[in-house]
């Protein structure tokens, strides 16, 4: 994220042209809208054109400098969110003759909060005004429309509800497959079911004797599995509200759990460094895979249930064949930082993995290469969840700086940062059926925030 002067052709957003226009000076006869009236100044140079997207909350420091970059004509801290223009005041009038053509508008972004900003200065042979310059941003579409994910609207998630009820750190939240319910698990040994549309608590499941690390919904929404430090996994039936099965077998804390798409198998991983596959209907363990050499932090099935991906604190991501239990592949980057979470893409060709070096990587499972990297958040200690945002054009993740980050999937830029939590945001979940994200936080802030994208065109609510 350098300061925002870049070549045009940036794949997102809209190409703007900054028209520098003069303020209406008292004695000038030039109308403000188009021509810049400046005193006679020579030797200007044009900067490259850049791209501004005014949909964002943009708070920048803009400065107009001359060609040699040794003279700053004006600087200002300005919030140009949604605005078409802003005015920059000079602290003092320039002592040299500077042609506006040589001037440049440099946007210095607040770090990591916006995509890079750019602005174009027209090739006008105009001098710089003496007291202030009013910059107008006009928009035109990029010529080749190089938008890779046809998401015309950029996300603007706003808090809808803040739900509290847990008494200890929340560890995991998941939306039900139809998007109508949100389940949360916490160190207070409870599983709570919420209604994210209305912000209400629907149900609480009690039964574990130790704190819970992870929960998972079955794909028909009938069952909920919870993995707990009491070394068991409990399967709760939504229909009866009671525990349906208790799966015993792990020899240490169970950390992660997931159903397969057909809901007849459950996979779990834990601090005993194994990955276990269970028969749901019979509550029997089917396979125990000697998966890793450190606690297993995440396990998941792919979209048709034929593959299991697991990641662990040894930094490795392994792919297993469900049928035979054989290891098919190991994905590892150079450093082996502790891997917190893995998730398959909807077509299972890619795996999203977050690691505790504050990076999220997208791996191509077939070529075993990392194809995208997302940085900017903080993840050094906790196993923070990451997910594909609703719509599939963004990646969402929590962070240890109490914020929720959203990156553009293709160009890896941070598109939005959601603030509101007061402690580490350990879990995020994206609603499968509507443009809604939930986030949950730990000890000092025991709330679940539900965010809704006000920009998304929901076709059916």
């Amino acid at each position: 994220m350098q300061d925002g002067i870049r070549n045009s052709g940036s794949p997102n957003g809209i190409l703007y042209e900054a028209v520098v226009e003069s303020p209406p000076p008292a004695e000038s006869s030039v109308t403000p809208q188009d021509v810049l009236v400046v005193p006679e100044i020579e030797n200007t140079v044009i900067e490259d054109s850049v791209i501004v997207d005014s949909h964002y909350d943009i708070s920048v420091q803009a400065s107009v400098v001359d060609e040699n970059q040794d003279m700053v004509l004006a600087t200002t801290d300005v919030n140009i969110s949604g605005q078409d223009s802003f005015t920059m005041e000079y602290s003092e009038s320039p002592s040299q003759d500077i042609d506006m053509q040589d001037a440049a508008v440099a946007f210095d972004q607040k770090p990591l909060s916006t995509p890079p900003l750019t602005a174009t200065l027209p090739a006008k042979d105009e001098p710089i005004p003496t007291s202030s310059v009013h910059l107008t941003l006009n928009g035109t579409k990029p010529p080749n429309g190089a938008v890779l994910q046809p998401q015309d609207t950029t996300p603007a998630y706003r808090v809808k509800f803040i739900m509290s009820g847990h008494t200890r750190s929340i560890s995991s939240i998941k939306f039900s497959p139809d998007g109508t319910m949100l389940a949360s698990a916490a160190a207070d040994k409870l599983v709570k079911i919420w209604d994210p549309e209305h912000g209400e608590l629907l149900d609480t499941f009690e039964g574990h004797t130790e704190g819970i690390s992870d929960i998972a919904w079955s794909s028909d929404g009938e069952f909920l599995a919870s993995a707990s430090d009491d070394k068991t996994i409990r399967i709760w039936s939504l229909e009866t509200g009671e525990v349906a099965k208790v799966l015993k077998g792990h020899t240490n804390f169970v950390f992660c759990v997931n159903f397969n798409p057909q809901c007849n198998l459950l996979v779990s991983g834990g601090f005993d460094e194994t990955v276990r596959v269970w028969d749901v209907a019979r509550a029997k363990p089917l396979k125990t895979l000697p998966a890793h050499s450190d606690p297993v932090t995440a396990v998941t099935f792919n979209h048709d249930g034929t593959l299991i991906a697991s990641c662990a604190m040894d930094g490795l991501i392994r792919l297993w064949d469900t049928d035979s239990g054989q290891c098919l592949k190991t994905l590892a980057d150079d450093d082996n930082p502790i891997c917190s979470h893995v998730k398959f893409s909807p077509n299972s060709k890619y795996i999203l993995a977050s690691t505790q070096d504050s990076t999220i990587r997208l791996w191509n499972t077939q070529t075993s290469r990392c194809v995208k990297t997302y940085t900017g958040h903080t993840n050094r200690t906790y196993s923070i969840f990451c997910d594909f945002a609703p719509g599939g054009a963004y990646i969402v993740s929590g962070s240890e700086d109490s914020k929720v980050y959203l990156w553009h999937l293709q160009n890896r830029q941070i598109v939005q940062v959601l603030e509101g939590h007061r402690d580490v945001v350990i879990a995020v979940a994206s609603n499968p059926t509507r443009p809604m994200i939930a986030s949950a936080s730990v000890e000092k802030d025991l709330t679940i925030h539900v965010w809704v994208d006000t920009n998304a065109e929901t076709l059916d609510s």
């Binding site: 490795l316 064949d321 049928d323 590892a332 077939q366």
Partner: protein, 519 residues
């Protein structure tokens, strides 16, 4: 999906070893079209549905009072058809919540039933063969409700032996357009499913009573098992489709299905008179079919209990009726029908065999009732545990590149990495892997290559992310009707009218067991 990761360079596509045994008292076992389940019929009148993921029984279909003689699956595995010696045929709905599942229909006949099967496209059309040698088509749809006996027309110059011959085996072909019936006189009689008229009669020289029929997925080849202990493979001719009486629309013949089309000769005259798309040969095709290959056991002269094609049609598996051993013979049809391998399944003799619809997997049933699941064992690749390493078969001399060990500037490296990451990534498109489209291959017709896929997102990339907000609709098969060409698809259209409720996305509910003991 895993075929790429589990790539076996030699690609032997028949199973070689037993993966598991399902302990049951089954008389026979059959895979479902998706390959997830096995249906087994028991001599006590019940049928069991086994889940291959968990290797355990998930549904008990209890209702018959005498032995179950055959089991069939509907296209997307939602409905199961069981026929029994107690004169009944029952359709079960596996999508129902209860166990035993809800019975959709029970059809009664007046004799024990030898076999029953669904029409491949519509589970409301049934083909039932009674043990006395009569075959019926039962149509449960509102508009076409009725029961038609399939009879051969009486021709003057008919071979008397054949006229009195009983039907011994009856099957739909994979497209559902025709019904193939084997008789006790060694003939195969072909009926058109829609018109219930006979379109062909083939004599098979040397065959005794026909005991079994199996088709390749494309429907172009047929294997027969007959009492002369020989399996024969035939290439099937194309059968002309008799036009319906109003030829210019999709509606079926206006009369309700004729109860007995007894006058075949007159029938064909009638058809000749009608306007429209008449094929030149509207009369009955009478030929003698010459088999491409004959398979028999020259040494022991053992008969065959049953046979089954592999999904690609390249292999034929035959279950030997040997009393002492459990033997499955595999022939390689790509290579002149050569004998490829004989699988030995232990002491318990074989009674039935069925090949998995998509994978190299066979289910063979022993006379004790146990079902052996055969698979291709993949050797464990220990190299998969180390990231970044590839296993090679032989030592490779490595020639490093000229610039291999150049020290690269850190910032250059970062720039290069950034640029590589600009490549677009598609997380939604599913390419057509063999496993995901096997179901499509199964449902595509032979004449029309258009594959059935009512569920959009499986076959094409989602063009717009917002499409996700819509719930996936349960694809009604009837929507496909309009897109077809008229001529060849009247039969298909007839079958697709009033479609059943079998669709790809139905889910088998996981029913929690009450306690540990398996019933």
């Amino acid at each position: 999906m895993n075929t790429k990761l589990l790539s076996n360079p030699f690609n032997i596509t028949y199973p070689t070893a037993v993966q598991t045994s399902l302990y049951s008292q089954a008389s026979f076992a059959k895979f479902d079209p998706s390959g997830r389940f096995v249906a087994a019929g028991l001599p006590d009148g019940s049928a069991r549905i086994w889940d291959l993921d968990t290797k355990s029984t998930v549904r008990w279909l209890e209702g018959h009072v005498k032995a179950v003689t055959s089991v069939d699956w509907s296209r997307y595995s939602r409905y199961v058809l069981t026929s029994s010696k107690d004169w009944n045929v029952v359709i079960w709905d596996l999508a129902s919540d209860t166990d035993p599942p809800r019975r959709v229909a029970t059809v009664r006949f007046d004799a024990p039933i030898a076999s029953a099967s669904f029409h491949p496209r519509n589970s409301q059309i049934l083909l039932v063969l009674l043990s006395v040698g009569e075959a019926y088509i039962v149509d449960l749809r509102k508009e076409h409700r009725g029961r038609t006996e399939l009879c051969e027309p009486d021709d003057a110059d008919e071979d008397s032996r054949q006229r009195n011959a009983a039907f011994t085996v009856a099957r739909f072909d994979p497209s559902g357009k025709h019904i193939f019936i084997g008789t006790s006189a060694g003939y195969i009689v072909v009926f058109n499913s829609r018109t219930k008229t006979m379109v062909a009669r083939h004599r098979i020289a040397g065959a005794g009573i026909l005991k079994g029929l199996d088709f390749t997925k494309s429907g172009r080849r047929l294997a027969t098992n007959s009492s002369d202990r020989t399996l024969r493979q035939f290439n099937l001719p194309v059968y002309p489709s008799p036009p319906s009486i109003p030829t210019s629309s999709f509606t079926p013949p206006p009369s309700s299905p004729p109860s007995n089309l007894s006058n075949g000769a007159n029938g064909s005259n009638e058809m000749n008179e009608v306007n429209g798309t008449i094929n030149m040969d509207a009369s009955i095709l009478e030929t003698e079919l010459e088999p491409m290959y004959r398979f028999h056991d020259p040494i022991n002269k053992v008969a065959w209990h049953s046979m089954s094609y592999s999904p690609d049609g390249d292999w034929l598996a035959g279950g030997a009726a040997d009393n002492a051993t459990h033997k499955i013979y595999i022939w390689d049809l790509q290579n002149e029908g050569q004998f490829a391998s004989a699988l030995d399944g232990g002491r318990e003799p074989l009674v039935h065999i069925h090949w998995h619809p998509t994978k190299p997997m066979i289910a063979s049933t022993t006379n004790r009732g146990n079902i052996l699941i055969w698979h291709c064992p993949t050797p464990e690749r220990w190299g998969a545990f180390a990231g970044g390493f590839e296993e090679v078969d032989e030592n490779v001399e490595y020639e490093e590149r000229e610039d291999e060990f150049d020290i690269e500037d850190e910032s250059d490296f970062i720039m290069r990495k950034q640029r590589m990451e600009e490549e677009p990534v598609d997380i939604f498109a599913l390419e057509d892997t063999p496993t995901s489209t096997s179901l499509n291959a199964l449902t595509s017709t032979t004449t029309n290559g258009h594959s059935h896929n009512p569920h959009h997102s499986l076959s094409a990339p989602l063009p717009h992310p917002h499409r996700q907000w819509h719930d996936s609709s349960s694809g009604a098969n009837g929507t496909e009707v309009a897109s077809r060409s008229r001529d060849e698809d009247e039969d298909l259209a007839w079958a697709d009218e009033d479609p059943d409720e079998d669709y790809m996305e139905w889910r088998l509910k996981v029913l929690m067991e009450e306690d540990e003991d398996v019933r």
